[in-house]
Amino acid sequence: MRTVFLPCAAAALFLLGRVTASGDAGQEPVLQVRIVNFNFETVRVTWSPSRYSGTNLTFVYKLSSDEASRPCCNYIVHEGHTAGCLLEARKDEILCFSLGNGTDILFRKCEWISAYLKPSSPEDLNFRWHEDAVTVTCSDLPYKRLLYEIQYKSVFDTEWQSKEGETCNVTIQALDSEKCYFFRARVKTLESSYGSDTYPSDWSKVTHQQRGELRDSCQEKRLFPKFILICGMIALLTVSLLLLSLWKVRRLHKCLMPSVPDPKLTFPGLFELHRGNFQEWIKDTQNVSHVAKTEATEQECVPEETLVVQLQKAEAEMPIVTTGPLCPATEGEEASGDASPVACQPPQGGEVVSLGGFTFVMTDNSYMLL
């Protein structure tokens, strides 16, 4: 049995010797180096060009299965200078590489390439529906300790839901087969087997499934604007109805409670100069002699619309106001014989008002406020 293990032991010793010579264990990295292992097929090593910008760094590497180190033959060039190397991988093994500037070695590192694995994304997803569950399957990748993550959502969901399995055979329960579902898948690595520096695979293409059948799409885009359009129309209709009812209410309010004219505007000076004493105001403005008599009567003059009569000062001395049948002459008036010759004449198409020698005919919807 010893003979079986001797080559391994010798290999371990050789590798230990290599590192002792390089003396770089635990050494701070001089460059920022990023490694991505694409599905154990291609390894991309890139280095930060900022510190050594303007210099062409050389990359030399050796995989565990190689007999000797070799220079990079597929450089990634950035702005005319080397910024990375693409190398072919064959299996899960250790990559030792060094970065140099001429004869100076700037950086040296040995790593398992699995520590930077980015698996390829799952292809050809298959769906097997059984009542309210679906089993999603695909081809397993040719290496172990992976997690196959299936995400799904219906057209009514905003967030994806996840289910994981160690093989690409994941069953999702409690689905409604009538609904249209989106499905996508990716592959992740188990941290206990690959470490925490790996990358998940890209997502597979989204697949649409409804009633156990493949769909081109879930009509999410068509359904959504229709819904918005209906909502918008309902909102518009509601606003229109509200405005209409408001307008109706205003009109009703106007009918029930008509606006009362402000006497301040009709009788300038009545409130400002005479504190609302109409007698004083009328004396001051018109010097009407028979107003007192008119006041004595308890006739009601129902205003329909205000006719504003305002005399010039010069005319104010002249009597006189005579009203038509709206304010008939009192008994006292008749007795005194002061009545104007035109008083209580029958109206011709309206009532007659005499004022300072002028005669006015008022229509039905006019009145005079005194």
Partner: protein, 145 residues
């Protein structure tokens, strides 16, 4: 110095070669690793990533990985002599004893371990490097078993 180190490692390799690990139940060992040993290794590293060190110890198949894990865990190396007393080592020893028929395990002299413990502060970085190798070997073992 390098010469003596190589001699020392050769001696350790010779010790390990007394058991070949081919009859172990790799599935159960992997399960135990994922359940208990992995956490203990992480705790020992205390947030330091294994990729911060150079990892150059390759193992080809599960028996080879277990042989190298056994070597690094239980046999002291220059600059790190106390790993065998750590929790992950105790769990490793228990797992291998249970799942590998004929594996006798490793007896650690407690008095010797206590004496060495004083030097632990100085050798921490070297021990962490050793444990980073162990982590990578265990990961490799779990990927291929």
């Amino acid at each position: 110095m390098v010469f003596f180190r190589k001699i020392f490692i050769l001696q350790l390799v010779g010790l390990v070669l007394t058991y070949n690990f081919t009859d172990c139940d790799f599935g159960k060992i992997r399960k135990k690793y994922q359940e208990v040993i992995y956490q203990a290794l992480n705790k020992y590293m205390n947030g330091v990533k294994s990729t911060e060190f150079n990892n150059y110890i390759y193992c080809e198949d599960p028996p080879d990985c277990l042989a190298k894990i056994d070597l690094i865990t239980f046999y002291p190396t220059h600059g790190c002599t106390t790993l065998a007393k750590e929790i992950f080592a105790i769990r490793t020893n228990a797992t291998l004893t249970l799942q590998c028929p004929g594996y006798s395990g490793t007896q650690i002299n407690n008095t010797q371990a206590k004496k060495k413990r004083k030097k632990r502060q100085v050798t921490t970085n070297k021990c962490r490097e050793q444990v980073s190798h162990l982590m990578e070997l265990w990961r490799r073992f779990s990927r291929i078993s």
